[in-house]
């Protein structure tokens, strides 16, 4: 749908267009700019003021400090050990919720039964439940299941509150998928799982990207569950970052805070940059067409 732009010559209109786009770029980039610039300054330069200014003394020390020597607990370990904790938690949680979401979407569209729409509605409503509310009952359930303070427990929690959205994405995507293909395969004798593995799943790339980006971002960035349901040896990155940034009565090393913050955000940023171009395609392929 690009017919509106018939000529790509540099008319006044297009110059205004580019200026507009550029202005918005600045709006979106400014906070990141502030963070990056200040993460490369010595602390004295920050406290002296001028948060928008480029560093006079460029230094990478805050980055090294945030990674390996900053104080986030009794030991000055930096954020390094927590990185792995997050990965161990996020990857299975994302994989699990995406896979189950895909299966749910498949059932809800291609094997719909009486009441399945209402079921989906109830499932979707679950997305809106405020997490602060579920904290205490969830802790109790995890205790009963023997998962308290463990990585599987954390994965389970993220899985539980992730399936709502992953089901939504896949359901909307599969709704647009031609049912005739499924019927034909069934006449050929293919079973429930075979149809899913051989026909639907191979064409689910775009929506899987959308779903994975969404889940990865949410789970990686979660603080509340990560802090409450982890143990001393499984605290995720966000908790460590929070410990770095929120220390109460000590000197605030803003440059280290910013470096740590960017570092903690790098995996999600990377996912967006690498998978970003498939993202619009994935959205296009179904989820917003309803």
């Amino acid at each position: 749908m690009s017919t509106a732009a018939k000529s790509s010559s540099f008319s006044a209109g297009r110059i205004i267009l580019y200026i507009l786009l550029l202005l918005f770029c600045i709006y979106y980039l400014l906070p990141l700019y502030v963070m990056v610039v200040n993460s490369l300054k010595p602390l004295s330069e920050i406290t002296a003021g001028g948060m928008m200014a480029l560093p006079r003394d460029w230094t990478a020390a805050p980055w090294f400090s945030a990674w390996s020597t900053a104080q986030v607990g009794v030991e000055a370990t930096g954020l390094r050990p927590y990185f792995l904790n997050s990965i161990i938690m996020v990857v299975p949680a994302v994989a699990l919720s995406t896979l189950v979401g895909a299966l749910n979407g498949y059932v809800l569209t291609k094997w719909a039964f009486k009441g399945s729409t209402i079921l989906f509605g109830l499932l979707l409503f679950g997305c809106f439940i405020p997490f602060q509310m579920v904290l205490i009952p969830m802790a109790r359930m995890l205790g009963l299941m023997g998962l308290a303070g463990s990585v599987p427990g954390l994965i389970f929690v993220h899985f539980v509150y992730g399936i709502g959205f992953s089901t939504l994405y896949f359901r909307n995507y599969y709704a647009a998928f031609p049912t005739e293909l499924v019927r034909a395969a069934q006449i050929d004798g293919a079973g429930f799982f075979r149809i899913f593995w051989r026909i639907l799943l191979p064409s689910s790339g775009p929506i899987a990207v959308v779903c994975i980006i969404w889940q990865f971002t949410n789970i990686w960035n979660d603080f509340l569950f990560g802090a409450s349901f982890s143990d001393f040896d499984s605290q995720p990155m966000t908790v460590a970052l929070n410990n770095l940034v929120q220390s109460s009565t000590g000197v605030k090393e803003y440059n280290v805070h910013f470096a740590g913050a960017i570092m903690a955000a790098l995996p999600t940023l990377l996912v967006y940059i690498v998978a970003g171009r498939y993202f619009v395609r994935g959205l296009m392929a179904g989820s917003v067409k309803g």
Partner: protein, 414 residues
């Protein structure tokens, strides 16, 4: 209620036998900044010397509120940490739930009753039993001042409210900001603590904030205290709202502002900026509260994980109360030891003064829990008071309304 705690305690016992090795302590705390954590490391090494491992569970944020949320989740799930950093009424609340271990044996052996001030014991003992080990005493009614500005304007250390106001006027006339203040509820309340104490004296303070006497809360003295808050508000720069306390301290350090009312942890900021007490900056009690000390104290409570106190819990408690740790930790932290018999050799001028003040206040009955820091009344009341103090300070209503609101707030939340 009790039943639930018993169940969780039982579950904890089961968990303890599997996940935590008998000889390790898992410690939930929010001391994650450089100095604090380094100080805590002293404790860790002490325990390691005795063959006890330290499992670190730091959760910073909101002056410990974040950690308390985590604690609730951990206890509910039957997996409480061995020891938890706690403040004031939180300790008593958890003790009331029957969740804390009894430390009387250690206390008796080491004579805690004789060395820890009475006012502090109220928060470390429940039903006559020691349930937590106090680490330090922060006093909150300090004023920090930039000496250069005071000298330049010929201001002597103010000792009364009127002298203080005169000093503020002088600074204002010179074009500098009289008071560096961060507009966050707890900071507003910290100032209010000192102002109320100065306005009405210790009896008034106790009746209003500790006894929650409605007549006192609604009195004209309280209105006067709010009026004085308005005076302070008029000597704060326009940009105070939401500012972190350490940025306010930086204003005093950099010579942009003359005074800051803040607890003794502010000292660390001055020292970190290479400023010397008595030459670059001054520390003195809020005018009119020279004899009083309002305090808050960090303590470690031990979670009951069975009938008896764990061996490692006992060792941790003993290590915390040892004079050498009390000295080493508090020198770094800026606070003063929780026991009054520790030598002040290692402390600087402000630290020595703080220790002397604490001892004097404890001996003369002038040591009071700080309302702003949860050592005068329970969390629900404290936060309700915060709401009123902050709303008034931000000009949402006048002093008369503030007094009424304060009474209502206490009624709802008592």
């Amino acid at each position: 209620m009790r039943k639930l705690t018993m169940m969780t305690a039982a579950a904890a016992l089961m968990a303890a036998s599997t996940s935590v090795q008998a000889e390790d302590v898992e410690v939930l705390h929010w001391w994650t900044s450089g100095g604090e954590a380094a100080a805590l490391n002293v404790l860790k090494e002490d325990l390691q010397g005795q063959g006890i491992g330290w499992q670190d569970m730091p959760v910073a944020g909101g002056g410990g509120t974040q950690a308390m949320t985590v604690l609730r989740a951990r206890v509910t799930s039957g997996n409480p940490p061995t020891a938890v950093q706690m403040l004031g009424f939180d300790i008593l609340d958890w003790a009331g739930e029957g969740a804390l271990a009894d430390l009387n044996i250690q206390a008796g052996l080491e004579g805690w009753d004789d060395v820890v001030p009475e006012a502090l014991q109220q928060f470390a003992k429940h039903d006559g039993k020691w349930v937590s080990a106090p680490v330090n005493v922060h006093s909150t009614n300090w004023v920090w001042a930039n000496k250069a500005i005071l000298d330049e304007l010929g201001i002597a250390v103010p000792t009364t409210w009127d002298e203080f106001v005169a000093a503020l006027e002088k600074v204002k006339a010179s074009g500098k900001t009289p008071i560096a203040h961060g507009g966050q509820a707890w900071q507003d309340a910290t100032v209010f603590d000192a102002v109320a104490m100065s306005t009405g004296g210790p009896e008034f303070y106790k009746k209003a904030f500790i006894d929650l006497d409605e007549e006192t809360l609604g009195s004209d003295t309280m209105k006067e205290a709010f009026d004085r808050m308005a005076v302070i508000r008029s000597h704060v720069d326009d940009n105070f709202s939401g500012r972190d306390w350490n940025l306010a301290t930086a204003m005093v350090i950099n010579g942009d502002a003359a005074f800051q009312m803040m607890g003794d942890w502010a000292k660390g900021e001055f020292l970190n900026a290479d400023k010397k007490p008595d030459t670059d900056f001054l520390c003195f009690r809020f005018p009119g509260t020279q004899d009083q000390v309002t305090f808050n104290a960090d303590q470690f409570a031990m979670f009951a994980q069975g009938k008896e106190v764990g061996k490692e819990q006992a060792a941790l408690a003993t290590a915390i109360l040892s004079p050498s740790f009390q000295s080493a930790f508090n020198v770094v932290k800026g606070s003063v030891p929780a026991r009054t018999d520790v030598s002040d050799d290692a402390f600087d001028a402000c630290g020595k003064k703080g220790m002397a003040d604490l001892k004097a206040a404890a001996d003369s009955g002038n040591l009071y829990g700080s309302m702003a820091h949860g050592h005068a009344n329970p969390a629900a009341v404290k936060n309700a008071m915060y709401d009123v103090i902050t709303a008034h300070f931000n000009g949402e209503y006048d002093s008369a309304t503030a007094v009424e609101e304060l009474v209502t707030a206490v009624q709802i939340n008592k």
